[in-house]
């Protein structure tokens, strides 16, 4: 028995036009929390996909518990007690938690020794026992569509545990969670470690690594840069190694210079499909040259406000004025033309058409205009040239340039493509919803800098973010929303992080 439970030796994996992993060797001890740190596209997920059998390495060997293995499918990985929680959950929405967990390995019982049926009752008991053991509270009879993201993640963890996984891989587990939920998840991970599990954590959030990981491997552009003992390493050093240069945690910005009001929202109320008031009587103004941030815990109506301004959601009451013009009844395209750029929260479902090429996606909001569209025919040359220009200007990286199918691109580059496209619209109002979600430090820094640049050009910026740090970092004015109502609007200088946090929880001063 070797000292290491997982060894990946000299792993190389190539994709068309790119070396995703270049001769990487990592060794993981049993019972440790091992972090993989790197920017988007550094090759973390690829490396772990090979351990979980979704890809096979071009070169190199994988050893599990001192034995050489050829993991050719996730099923085989499961047999080796390897489990993975993917960044995008793989759950059946209209099945219950228990049904999702047993899916594929349903325990079978027989009535009268003859008629086989799924032993849901036994499974539910098993799941309840497991969830108690690791402090993962879930109600196994609830349906996935009725529970929140954090609970869904717990279901994914239970799914692994139910399959008796010993080596647990977490792919960016905190990307979709709120600060409180992150705390809770990190506790769960610690608990799992105490239970003797080996944890591999893919992330680019340094605080998390600092808090729970023992060792940390840093990947950059497909190569292993270093393996560090977390305890003895400063956060800044890890960040520098990851990005390959000095990073600043504080975005440089000049004082704001407010101009005319660009966006005015008056007494806005929005109902959701269940006729429930998600936004109640919200009013605020955003000036040119101002970053107005809406802070709040996820699901308190902030995304609905953005959707209503952009025209994706119906307004129940109230009005939206852009440069003094009431646009409440305009179509989505007319609002875009009037001067709204919108970087949506869900970039894969709304922001992009994943099966289309990068060039087509970059022209997605302008394809119908001259010179892209001439007499009803699209001019591919113009579209391609425009795409090339944006790729260069916004440093959008992909394997085959403008022809790349957007689905094949990394999350960070997808986001760069959207932001580039929206900035090029040269709108007077730019709405950013969670612009840096799931991105690495380098990209975050870059995007925040771009937001400030746009502000300095005199654009009105509406920023909606769950990251309080981000809001404190770049906002000029902060509006805090709780339960669909704006609790407080104040200049960013007049508020401390703690105060904003309290308003977010609905504690009215």
């Amino acid at each position: 028995m070797s000292e290491y439970i997982v060894e990946m030796r000299n792993i190389t994996k190539r994709f068309p036009g790119i070396v995703a992993n270049d001769d990487i060797t990592i060794q993981i001890k049993k019972g440790e929390i091992y972090a993989l740190l790197g920017e988007n596209g550094a090759g973390k997920s690829t490396l772990m996909s090979m351990l979980f059998g979704m890809y096979e390495p071009d070169e190199g060997e994988i050893w599990i518990r001192g034995e050489k293995v050829n993991i050719d499918s996730p099923n085989f990985a499961t047999k080796l007690n390897i489990g993975m929680v993917h960044q995008h959950f793989k759950l059946v929405e209209n099945y219950t938690i228990a049904e999702n967990i047993i899916l594929g390995i349903e325990p079978i019982k027989k009535y009268l020794g003859l008629f086989s049926h799924v032993d849901l009752k036994g499974a539910t008991e098993n799941i309840a026992r497991l969830s108690r053991k690791y402090g993962l509270e879930v109600d196994p009879s609830k349906k996935i569509e009725d529970i929140n993201v954090s609970m869904q993640q717990r279901v994914e963890i239970l799914k692994m545990l139910y399959r008796e996984a010993e080596i647990l891989i977490f792919d960016e587990p905190t990307a979709v969670l709120t600060p409180q939920e992150i705390d809770f998840l990190l506790e769960i991970i610690e608990e799992l470690k105490r239970g003797g599990k080996t944890i591999i954590l893919i992330t680019h959030k340094l605080e998390e690594i600092k808090r729970i990981a023992h060792r940390c491997a840093i990947l950059r552009k497909g190569q292993l840069v270093d393996v560090l003992d977390v305890k003895n390493t400063a956060t800044r050093e890890m960040a520098n190694l990851m990005v390959g240069r000095e990073v600043s945690f504080k975005t440089e910005k000049k004082g704001a210079c407010f101009q005319d009001v660009v966006l005015e929202v008056r007494n806005l109320s929005i109902k959701n499909n269940d006729d429930f008031d998600v936004v109640k009587d919200v009013s605020f103004k955003v000036h040119g040259g101002e970053v107005f941030a809406i802070a709040g815990v996820s699901g308190n109506g902030q995304v609905e406000i953005a959707d209503a301004i952009a025209g994706l959601t119906d307004i129940f009451q109230g009005e939206v004025l852009l440069n003094g013009k009431d646009i409440s009844n305009y179509s989505i395209r007319k609002r875009t033309v009037e001067g709204i750029s919108y970087i949506p929260e869900d970039r894969q479902t709304y922001g992009l058409i994943l099966d289309f090429s990068l060039a087509e996606n970059l022209a997605l909001k302008e394809y119908y205009k001259e010179p892209f569209n001439h007499n009803g025919l699209l001019n591919r040359n113009v579209i391609n040239e425009y795409g090339e220009g944006l790729i260069h200007k916004y440093d959008i990286r992909s394997s085959q340039g403008i022809k790349t199918q957007v689905r094949q691109m990394s999350g960070g580059n997808q986001q760069k493509a959207i932001i580039g496209r929206e900035i090029e619209l040269k709108s007077s109002l730019m709405i950013f919803v969670q612009p840096t979600r799931g991105l690495d430090i380098g990209a975050i820094e870059n995007i925040q800098r771009m937001i400030i640049e746009e502000r300095d050009k005199g654009k009105a910026i509406l920023l909606i973010s769950l990251e309080l740090d981000e809001i404190m970092n770049i906002a000029d004015t902060i509006g805090v929303i709780y339960n669909g109502e704006i609790q407080k609007i104040a200049s960013a200088d007049a508020l401390t992080t703690n105060e904003v946090g309290e308003f977010m929880m609905g504690v009215t001063a």
Binding site: E56, I332, Y342, Y350, G351, I353, L354, F356, E360, L377
Partner: protein, 390 residues
């Protein structure tokens, strides 16, 4: 013992290598895999024919003879391989249009299972409005097409409208419309246009017919399907339209991601109606060339099965208009040659439908085969590399 194993492994490797050489080139997979799958369906069909105690190779040869691809040993007066082939094209013409109808809808993310109903409506309207009128050929023939297009497009558009306005699934409403059209029209045919002898609608005037029948040339009597040339032209046209036009871009965007398309400012509802109307228009031309070309009358209470076969043809053609030209050719041969096959080889005509069914079944595995080949290729390379090292 060990040696045997090595030989077996070698054989297996050779075989994998051969298959990979055949199907591995991704640039040609759009062609090689469908051909491979069609071949596979013929192999399975052979087994079935063998079980029936007949010679499958003869049966397939008879199929081609019947369709005018291979010469028959003897022909009746005024007939030859050419007349058989023209009959094949005559049958293939509406098939191409119907399949294009399915393909256009699928590009826009919609499943038009109502092609049959749209064909029937287009064909019926053209028959009663122009087919029995005394208009001369130069007016009547274009008019037939226009009415067919309008009838089909209207019905398709309604299906799209219902989906947009009331969120009624297009599959459900199309199937309902199929029934409504089928029975309402058969009521009118029975009460007004019936031929008491044939129990079908009366024959239309030849001026309105889209196929020139019994044209005497080279000592033969031929059927010339005028719509065939149009089918080729429109296949190219619709391909260019989808690839190059603004509306085509919007149709594909809505098909690929309706939420994303809406966000981008595309009017999703309008695009869906356009897509269904366009699809219906193609179905309408299919109806015109079917009822006023291939046939010259309408059989009441029967939906054209071609509208459903078209789904298979479109899938086999990978939803690509050029692919559809090829796949309708193949399916038409099987359908058209079946009569001759049953009379000569004694293989029942229904076997032709079995072959068509098998082709559809296998062509549905296209994506799986692509995936399988990709993974096998990687593994094969890996193994080969290791062996070289050893």
């Amino acid at each position: 013992m060990r040696e045997v194993k090595v030989v077996e492994k070698d054989k297996k490797n050779h075989f994998t290598g051969f298959v990979l050489k055949l199907l591995g080139n991704e640039k040609w997979q759009f062609l090689t895999i469908p051909i491979f799958l069609i071949a596979l369906s013929f192999v399975v069909a052979s087994v079935i024919i063998l079980i029936l105690g007949k010679n499958p190779l003869m049966a397939f040869f008879n199929l081609m003879q019947g369709a005018g691809i291979m010469p028959k040993p003897s022909y009746a007066g005024y007939k030859s391989i050419l007349t058989d082939f023209l009959t094949l094209l005559n049958f293939m013409t509406p098939m191409i249009f119907a399949s294009l109808a399915v393909a256009v809808a699928l590009k826009g993310g919609l499943f038009n299972i109502g092609v049959s109903g749209q064909m029937l409506l287009g064909g019926y309207l053209a028959t009663v409005l122009v087919g029995y009128s005394g208009l001369n050929a130069f007016v009547a023939k274009p008019l037939v097409l226009i009415i067919g297009i309008l009838g089909g497009a209207m019905l398709g558009g309604v299906v799209g409208f219902l989906k947009h306005k009331f969120n009624i699934n297009e599959v459900v409403s199309s199937i309902m419309f199929n029934y409504i059209i089928q029975y309402v029209l058969s009521f009118f045919i029975h009460t007004k246009y019936i031929d008491p002898v044939s129990r079908q609608s009366k024959y239309i005037n030849s001026a309105a017919r889209l196929t020139l029948v019994n044209v005497e040339r080279f000592g033969l009597k031929m059927d010339l399907p005028l719509g065939f040339i149009m089918a080729i032209v429109l296949s190219i046209g619709i391909k260019l339209f989808l690839d190059k036009s603004r509306v085509g871009f919007e149709i594909k965007a809505v098909g690929a991601n309706p939420k994303g398309a809406r966000y981008a400012g595309i009017n999703v509802g309008k695009t869906m109606i356009t897509t269904m109307a366009l699809s219906g228009a193609f179905a309408g031309i299919a109806g015109a060339t079917y009822y006023l070309g291939y046939f010259a009358s309408i059989q009441p209470r029967v939906l054209p099965s071609m509208g459903f076969d078209a789904i298979a043809v479109a899938l086999l053609g990978n939803n690509n208009p050029y692919g559809i030209l090829a796949s309708s050719f193949i399916i038409s041969i099987i359908e058209k040659g079946s009569t001759y096959m049953s009379s000569i080889a004694g293989v029942r005509q229904e076997i032709a439908s079995v072959i068509t069914g098998l082709i559809l079944l296998f062509s549905a595995t296209n994506v799986y085969i692509q995936h399988k080949i990709r993974t096998t290729k990687e593994k094969y390379k890996y193994n080969m590399g290791k062996e070289l090292e050893e």
